[in-house]
């Protein structure tokens, strides 16, 4: 199975906005920048069988932009992606086949921690996802720690490719 990790794009700051964390939307700049990223992403990444997203607004908006870039896709909200609850994420992935690609839209810090774990590394700080950053990982077994990192791309590289 291939897992396409997508960190949400730039969102309104938590401090001073007075909003609940789960209600923070993407900024207009964040939306615009991620549209560019998503266009390139749709060209370089395999079209996923599903886009699973955290229920937090900024992640759902990011998932919607990605879905639009691939065309004709509808993200599915998975509560476990809010905090990186791995048993919950595994359950959500259980219905997909070995050769499927599934996009997971979520947050730091669990994305870098989970990426490190899937690749069998203890250096969870080695994979620092920027907002709008993307990685593609191939895993034979979700329980095993022997995945392969196919690529790890910061958003600014994507935008320069355009």
């Amino acid at each position: 199975m291939r897992l396409l990790f997508i960190r949400h794009a730039i969102a309104v700051d938590a401090d001073g906005s007075g909003m609940r964390d789960e209600d923070r939307p993407l900024t207009s700049e964040g939306e615009q920048l991620f549209r560019q990223t998503a266009r390139m992403l749709a060209r370089v990444a395999p079209k996923p069988q599903a886009i699973l997203t955290s229920p937090l607004l900024r992640a759902r908006q990011t998932a919607d932009i990605s879905a639009h870039a691939w065309g004709d896709m509808r993200p599915t909200v998975v509560p476990a992606l809010a905090e990186g609850d791995w048993p919950g994420i595994r359950r959500a992935l259980a219905s997909y086949k070995g050769d499927d690609t599934v996009a997971l839209v979520g947050h730091e810090s669990w994305m870098s921690t989970l990426t490190a774990r899937l690749l069998g590394s203890d250096s969870h700080r080695a994979f620092d996802y920027r907002k709008g950053g993307v990685a593609l990982i191939e895993v034979d077994d979700l329980e095993a720690r022997g995945g392969t990192l196919l690529w790890f791309i910061p958003p600014r590289v994507f935008r320069r490719l355009e």
Binding site: P79, D85, P87, G88, S109, T113, L114, D122, H124
Partner: protein, 322 residues
């Protein structure tokens, strides 16, 4: 910077001379009390989840705050929620216990390393063996953090969030029920603390002391909830905090001594006599420090602190509730 021993001695001096104020009678909010309990619960839940991302990066302060906020919530939950014996509340408490235990292993190693660093700082010169032992302790901490981060990912944290959200949505218990539950908890924990210190006497039993420390912490966090429900800061949490601090620093040195003992045994098996001797000497230092801290602890008259703390809560040891 003060060494742990110096800090503990200063605490002892202050504890020995402190009169802990009594709790003023409850002034319960006339209305909106259920909402207040719900709000207090929500605040604690928000604090817990705010600390989660930092802990997942292995950040020392993040791990500590996650553990502390998890413990506070575990104590507050059965006091504040409606249907405290219900399925959801029980599951949330179990998940919180797993969360605080998971964060605990790594945090304990942080504290051990901190204590050993203070010891090495006071030495005019460090031997190569001491440097190696420190390096091993730091490596154990690094491995502990990596394990902890992996284990945090394995927790059903979204189920915990769901359960807590459902408990908050019910709106919490009425202040009268919170006070009744608080009274029951004070009597149970207070009696155990009283009995524990009576049984212990002047003995240094690190395991028993650690158990008593946990009870003191539970009482302290419960008083915090009770004070917030009444909108009044009673300072009745202070004696429990004092006990917690005094026993904590003592316990850290005891655990450090055990860690050095294990290193000494392992090095002896490997045939590394010099390193084994150094580890044995460091274990002796840690044990001697624990004994000195225990003497300081006894000088602070823990039984008196417990009696004052219980009096402040209106609990009379020996008077069992029905």
């Amino acid at each position: 910077m003060r060494s742990p021993a110096e800090a503990a001695r200063a605490d002892v001096a202050s504890a020995a001379t402190t009169e802990f104020p009594a709790v003023v009678g409850p002034t319960l909010p006339a209305n909106g009390g259920r909402r207040l309990a719900g709000t207090l619960l929500r605040r604690r839940v928000n604090t817990l989840f705010r600390n989660f991302p930092a802990a997942l990066t292995g950040d020392e302060e993040g791990i500590h705050q996650l553990r502390v906020s998890g413990r506070r919530l575990r104590v507050a939950l059965p006091l504040l929620v409606d249907k405290a014996d219900g399925r959801r509340a029980g599951r949330a408490r179990r998940l919180l216990q797993m969360l605080t235990r998971t964060a605990g292993g790594s945090r304990d190693l942080d504290v051990l390393l901190e204590s050993y660093d203070l010891r090495l700082k006071d030495l005019p010169e460090r031997t190569a063996e001491q440097k190696l032992l420190r390096h091993r302790l730091a490596s154990a901490r690094r491995r502990g953090r990596a394990r902890m981060v992996g284990s945090l990912l394995d927790l059903e944290i979204s189920r915990l969030r769901r359960d807590l959200a459902a408990l908050i949505a019910r709106g919490g218990s009425s202040p009268a029920i919170v006070c009744e539950r608080f009274g029951t908890l004070c009597e149970r924990e207070g009696q155990s603390l009283h009995d524990g210190f009576t049984t212990l006497g002047v003995r240094l039993d690190a395991k028993l002391l650690h158990g008593l420390r946990r009870r003191a912490r539970r009482l302290r966090y419960a008083v915090e909830v009770y004070d917030q429900i009444r909108g009044f800061e009673s300072a009745a949490a202070k004696p429990w905090k004092t006990l917690q601090d005094l026993i904590g620093v003592l316990h850290d040195h005891h655990v450090l001594a055990e860690w050095f003992d294990k290193q000494a045994q392992a090095d002896e098996k490997r045939g590394n006599a010099l390193l084994a001797a150094t580890a044995t000497a460091e274990a002796a230092w840690a044990r001697a420090t624990a004994h000195r801290l225990h003497e300081d602890f006894l000088a602070a008259q823990p039984a008196t602190i417990v009696a004052q703390g219980l009096a402040a809560l209106g609990v009379t040891p020996g008077a069992q509730s029905n």
